[in-house]
């Protein structure tokens, strides 16, 4: 049951690409917020979340992601998602997350657009 969640960041130009690994629940959401806050403090405004290594999410984790998207909008930035599994894409759609943020198949597509 030790599903240890990890989030790592790589900078590419003005974009911060956050790579998640593991189940996105409330604790994972808090880790993403922590990482995001550190990047905002460095004046980063544009974000891509690559969820290739995330297979499961829950509604509390997604609610936290929606709060992150709202903060990005407040600072005049952008946030996109890429590499969603079909179930995560469907979950995001049901929860209305795709109204606030764009979803791309690949990281390359997200950076291009």
């Amino acid at each position: 049951m030790a599903d240890v969640f990890k989030v790592t960041t790589r900078m590419e130009g003005k974009y911060a690409i956050l790579y998640t690994e593991g189940y996105i629940n409330n604790l994972a959401g808090d880790k993403i917020v922590e990482e995001f806050n550190q990047l905002v403090a460095k004046d980063v405004k544009h974000y891509v979340l690559n969820l290739q290594k995330t297979q499961l999410v829950n509604s509390i984790g997604i609610s936290i992601l929606i709060e992150v998207i709202e903060k990005v909008q407040e600072i005049g930035g952008t946030l996109a998602f890429c590499h969603l599994t079909p179930i995560i894409a469907k979950t995001f759609k049901i929860m209305g997350l795709t109204q606030y943020s764009k979803v791309y198949d690949t990281e390359e597509d997200a950076l291009k657009n």
């Binding site: 604790l27 499961l56 829950n58 509604s59 509390i60 179930i87 469907k90 979950t91 049901i94 929860m95």
Partner: protein, 136 residues
């Protein structure tokens, strides 16, 4: 107990919902559900279980789960013996209930049928997923 039932009880501890999704995976796989539908069952179950974790305040701090393999359908029952909740309020917007409302919407969006029975003695969520949807 019928021979087509699987029972599981999990303590209300962090990430224990994943133990239930692993069992769900095996049961649905045995019933030859396709991988996308198995994932839908798993996410819906996570929502039902974390609702119990977060809101039931049950004294035994346990969630009881039953998988019933019924022909083309998998019926999952998630039950706690907490104080129950107001279903109508949970779907409305007030901040403290918003996240629970999301979970209910998710369960309904991912399963073919969701019935919720809330009483002062606990909550029972019965979810059904069909192997073949009616439009297939």
């Amino acid at each position: 107990m019928d021979s087509n039932e699987v029972f599981l009880q999990i303590p209300m501890l962090p990430n224990m919902e994943l133990a239930a999704t692993e069992t769900a995976h095996r049961v649905a796989e045995f019933m030859q559900f396709d991988p996308d539908k198995i994932d839908e069952i798993k996410i819906a179950m996570i929502e039902g279980i974390i609702n119990a974790f977060e809101h039931s305040q049950s004294k035994d701090k346990t969630v009881y789960i039953k998988f019933l393999m019924r022909g083309d359908e998998l019926e999952v029952t998630i039950q706690d013996f907490g104080h129950g909740f107001d279903l109508d309020s949970a779907k409305k917007e007030p901040e403290q209930l918003r996240k629970r409302g999301h979970g209910l919407n998710l369960m309904e969006g991912l399963m073919d049928r969701v019935d919720i029975y809330a009483t002062p003695n606990g909550t029972k969520v019965i979810m059904v997923k069909r192997r073949h949807s009616s439009d297939e």
